[in-house]
């Protein structure tokens, strides 16, 4: 048997598929790096609504450049490619019909109901913010900012940056009316982050 024996994380698989479809709809194609970015943003939105990080189903590492990365997303993405759920050329992927059907099936699962809210919230941010702006803004959230300052890779959402994140979310909750919509907090938070000084400016 040549196939790798590792189990694909089902939540990472669903997230990858869902985000791929949304990216394709909104931007026309799927870039691998953007999958990790939006999955991480989704996880943070879950955290905002007090879902513990452990509930997300898989973890993220911060790279030395200050970007989020999840091995589970990569494994899921590779499996999708192997099974024809997505087609890839260089770093750009496209979801196949099989992929759309699969997503519809998986979206109907109870296990995926709650997380869809956060995935949709994250992807909807692209409706008014270019992906580059979302990427820049997210790089200023406390955990990723800390990564780019220290220039060492480590697990995200386990370090001291988490406390700063909680405080930001607490403030966010206090300035927004309590509604069940996730779009508002996502948009307001990203807009707030994009006002923070960039990490390049920090280095200066």
């Amino acid at each position: 048997m040549y196939e790798k024996a590792e189990l694909i994380n089902s939540t990472a698989y669903f997230d990858t598929l869902y985000i791929s479809i949304r990216l394709q709809t909104l931007l026309g194609s799927v870039f691998t790096g953007e999958l990790h970015l939006l999955a991480y943003l989704s996880c943070l939105l879950g955290l905002y609504e007090s879902h513990p990080v452990s509930e997300w189903g898989y973890g993220f590492t911060g790279t030395t450049e200050g970007a989020p990365y999840s091995p589970a997303i990569t494994a899921a993405s590779d499996q999708m490619e192997r099974s024809g759920t997505v087609f890839r050329r260089h770093q750009i992927a496209y979801v196949s019909d099989r992929g759309f059907a699969e997503c519809e099936l998986l979206s109907s699962m109870y296990s995926n109901t709650t997380r869809q809210r956060y995935l949709e919230g994250a992807c909807s941010s692209l409706l008014t913010l270019p992906i580059g702006i979302v990427r820049e803004a997210l790089s200023r959230e406390p955990e990723l900012r800390s990564m780019s300052i220290h220039r060492t890779a480590r697990q995200l959402l386990q370090g001291p940056g988490l406390e700063s994140l909680y405080r930001q979310f607490e403030l966010l909750r206090s300035v927004l009316d309590h509604s069940s919509d996730i779009l508002a907090p996502a948009m307001v938070w990203l807009t707030y982050l994009s006002c923070e000084p960039a990490r390049n400016e920090v280095h200066r």
Binding site: G66, T128, G132, S179, D181, A184, A186
Partner: protein
């Protein structure tokens, strides 16, 4: 440091909490539909830069129509709008992708917003209005007329070409605009920052917001001429890198009015040579990394420009507009890691 004031201000004025506050869950759903429509349909088909008058788009919250149907036309889709409605228009989103159009109509946006969620574009500003309350749509890049008209690019070359045509050409960038000594864009200024620093920052900011993928754009702060890279673009998961070297041609002036530099094509050629040498070094040191070099030349040459000139006519100002640089050797032809140099001519403001 948490800035409570900023966060509160954003929450107060941002469209999403305003809409949800006024229209609740229904409003949230309608908002999403409208955003999709604006981004994926309307602004894909119209060039909003051309519009001077107001564009209004709305969708009903309930069943009642907030605007009289008199004078309106139902169109099957937004593509039918592509033909020059330069005077402004009002569009109502209907089911199944159809739209109702009123053209050349001034409407009472507040009144419509009592029963519908209204989007308004006017004078390079986007906003939503819900029950009379205005929700701002922040535009992270005011070089574009609307937040829905900000393009993204899959490739670095595509992005650089856009920059050439839409930013460099008319110096239509709030960073780049500071590179000039005067409004007419004749001379580069050297104070408070050197021209190459301004160009580097302008290009970096542009690439950060407009490039897709797992990209990290990093302006380099070179302390000497031996490291020619001005902007480093790194694709994190594929280990590819784009090294951009920026050179400018033209004249620069000190605050005292003295010509401090006068660069021509030789400077561009020098840049090409240095970039090629650097790529060669990089290749030897990290042969597994896919590195590609890009030479960007900002061309602000003017014919017969004298130190004391403050304006220029079209003949002299556009003299070099189509004057491409000859490179010898042509590195982009002999090296597979050297992109064809991109010359970005900057049009002066004529007879200002």
């Amino acid at each position: 440091m948490l800035d409570t004031k900023v966060m509160a201000e954003i929450a107060e004025t941002h469209f999403s909490p305003v809409v949800i506050k006024e229209f609740g869950q229904v409003g949230s759903q309608v908002l999403r539909e409208m955003l999709e429509f604006l981004r994926n349909e309307l602004f894909r088909y119209i060039d909003v830069e051309l519009y001077r008058k107001q564009i209004v788009v709305f969708k009903n919250i309930g069943k009642a129509n907030p605007l009289s149907l008199k004078g309106s036309t139902v169109l099957p889709s937004v593509t039918h709008l592509a033909q020059g409605f330069k005077k402004g228009f009002v569009v109502q989103m209907l089911e199944q992708g159809k739209i109702r159009l009123w053209n050349n109509t001034s409407v009472d946006v507040n009144a419509i917003s009592q029963k519908a969620l209204v989007y308004v574009y006017h004078n390079r500003s986007d906003r939503f209005v819900a029950k009379g309350k205005v929700g701002r749509i922040p535009n992270p890049d005011s070089n574009h007329a609307s937040v829905f008209a900000i393009p993204t690019f899959d490739s670095l070359v595509e992005a650089l070409m856009f920059y050439k045509l839409k930013r460099a050409n008319n110096s239509a960038c709030k960073i780049l605009v500071g590179v000039w000594f005067e409004e007419a864009r004749l001379f580069f200024a050297t104070v408070p920052r050197k021209p190459e620093e301004v160009m580097r920052d302008s290009l970096s900011e542009f690439l950060k917001s407009h490039l897709r993928g797992d990209v990290d754009v990093h302006p380099e702060h070179n302390v000497n001429e031996t490291e020619p890279v001005d902007v480093r673009v790194q694709w994190l998961f594929s280990k590819s890198q784009g090294l951009i070297e920026i050179k400018w041609m033209g004249k620069s002036k000190s605050p005292q009015g003295k010509i401090t530099a006068n660069h021509g094509p030789s400077r561009a050629r020098q840049g090409a040579k240095r970039l090629a040498e650097y790529l060669e070094e990089e290749k030897m040191q990290t042969p597994t990394n896919a590195v590609r070099g890009y030479l960007v030349v900002i061309d602000a040459r003017r014919w017969g420009l004298k130190r004391t000139d403050t304006k220029i006519d079209s003949r002299n100002g556009l003299y070099y507009q189509n004057s491409e640089i000859e490179y010898s050797p042509e590195y982009h032809k002999i090296r597979d890691d050297f992109e064809e140099p991109i010359r970005m001519f900057v049009v002066p403001k004529l007879n200002v």
